[in-house]
Structure formats: structure tokens, C-alpha cells
Symmetry: C2
């Protein structure tokens, strides 16, 4: 089993979507826990910045809201859970306070690779191509790499 | 100036949009007030049913939430304001509790027809064609006609 950092594979399947794929060196149950326990989410989602979990109603129809406190200021993010299939799949919306009313649908899938590793696939669907491109140009990929590096460390600590 | 009830003109400009157009026999300022004062909204939005205005933060980034109490049960609706241009334009999101995480972007425009009448244009943008068709098949047109008939009456009372 490799312990080297895995790389993020980002593609654009359609003109309104972004798909990312990332392998984690941890079994699916542990990855699921890190993604769905608010105390653990607070340890990686904010890329090392302090993350305030304001709301985490983890059920269909429930709302979530995080505020990330970074050196350059605070940013609020929120959304609502559309679908939850334990260990396998979460569909939720995502909205940044800086662009209110611009709502992304995120479909997150966890795949057990059978060798103690887990593949996390995230597909983001935007209302328009412009919103999709705005996200691509926002430094999203670097931000995800930072978050996932923090998640790598958390998963190792939990092991 | 006609006082006859006006008809709703519904079209589908693209496969993810619904556009409606409706004329009201009232000046734009009065229509704007009926659309943006929560006490007035409660008198027409719910099609004659009791409407509870839970949240009405009418500013960019603010949230709104209504609960309609009808004979067949209660339905919650909510969203967030993306853009407000007084007297002219509101862009907001719309989500029904029954389908959480399915978010519509609504762009509402008021046009002063110059003869004491006002044209209200509403364009709804969906993430997918299936969601758009689901809305078309939900009885939306009948519901809008009921709401707008209640709005006609309210505007006449305010005159």
C-alpha cells in the first residue's frame, strides 16, 4: 500500500461541470467518518484555517453552514443536503456568501478500492458555463489540494 | 385602461428555462410594493392559503422562507436574494422543501407600460431539463394563475 501523496485528477465532463477524483490511503469507512463528522470536517475542510461549523444537519433536507477564518478575512459557505447514502454518496448544494444565489450541486461518491484505499469522486454542476469557469479560475484546484492534504493527515492520525 | 383579468403567457425559451409574462392593472410602484413588502406578499403569494413569512431579509445575500398552510398540508419554500434593483428587477433562488437541493434561479423584471399598467416577467432557470419539466408538470401554471388573481385583488385594494 502506497503512502505517497495522491494527486488530484480534475476534468470538465460537460461545459457546466467539474469532476475531481482523488485517492486516499484509508479505508472507506474512515474516509466517510472524516467527511461526515462535523468535529473531523473542521480539521481539514478549511485548508488549515480555523473552520467554524455553524450548522451541520446531516440528513436529507438539512442545512449546513461553515465559516472559514483565514488570515485575509472570513468566508461563509452554505447549502442543503439533497441525498445521503451512508458510506457511498452525498448530494448537496454549495453556495459561497460572496456570490449569493449562485448555487452548485455537488455529488460526492466514495469508492472502496479493496486494498485499504478509497477513491473520492466529486462532480459539481453549475447553472451556467460562466459560473463553472469562474470557479475554475478562482484557485479552486489549489484550495482542494490543500484541503485534501489536510484530510490525508487527519486520516493517518485516525488510523 | 382595462380592468379585465389578464392572462398568463408561459413559454420555454430553452430546455432549462420557463418564462412567464403577466400584465397587472396597476402602476409599477404599487406592484413593486406588493412584491417586496412581506405583509403584502403574505396576502397573495399563497393563492388564498395562509402564508407564514418566516424570513424576509430583502437585500443581496439575504434569505427568505415562506410556509404555506393549505387544506392538504403545509409546504415550505426558501431561497436567497442574488440581486435587487428597486422597482425593476429581483434575482433570487427558489427551493421547495419537498425537493431539497433542487434550486431554481428566478429573475423577475417589472416593466412600466406607461398607461398605468405593469408587465411582470419571470424567468426560472433550472440545473437540468428534468427539473424544468417536473415543475411544468407540477400544476405550476394553475398555481401561478391563482396567486396572480389574488395579486390582482390586492393591487385593486391598494389603489
Amino acid at each position: 500500500m502506497s503512502t505517497a501523496a495522491q494527486s488530484l485528477n480534475l476534468t470538465t465532463p460537460t461545459d457546466r461541470e467539474i469532476r475531481t477524483e482523488r485517492i486516499f490511503n484509508a479505508p472507506r469507512e474512515r474516509v466517510w467518518k472524516a467527511l461526515t463528522d462535523p468535529k473531523l470536517v473542521a480539521q481539514w475542510w478549511g485548508r488549515g484555517n480555523k473552520l467554524e461549523v455553524v450548522k451541520f444537519e446531516f440528513e436529507r433536507g438539512g442545512h449546513w453552514r461553515f465559516v472559514e477564518h483565514g488570515p485575509e478575512g472570513s468566508h461563509g459557505f452554505e447549502g442543503r443536503y439533497r441525498e445521503i447514502k451512508p458510506q457511498e454518496r452525498v448530494v448537496q448544494t454549495f453556495e459561497w456568501d460572496g456570490m449569493p444565489g449562485h448555487v452548485i450541486v455537488e455529488t460526492m461518491t466514495l469508492e472502496d478500492l479493496g486494498d485499504g484505499r478509497t477513491k473520492l469522486v466529486n462532480v459539481s454542476l453549475f447553472h451556467t458555463n460562466q459560473e463553472r469557469d469562474g470557479m475554475l479560475n478562482s484557485g479552486m484546484e489549489g484550495g482542494m489540494n490543500e484541503s485534501y492534504a489536510a484530510l490525508d493527515k487527519l486520516l493517518a492520525r485516525l488510523g
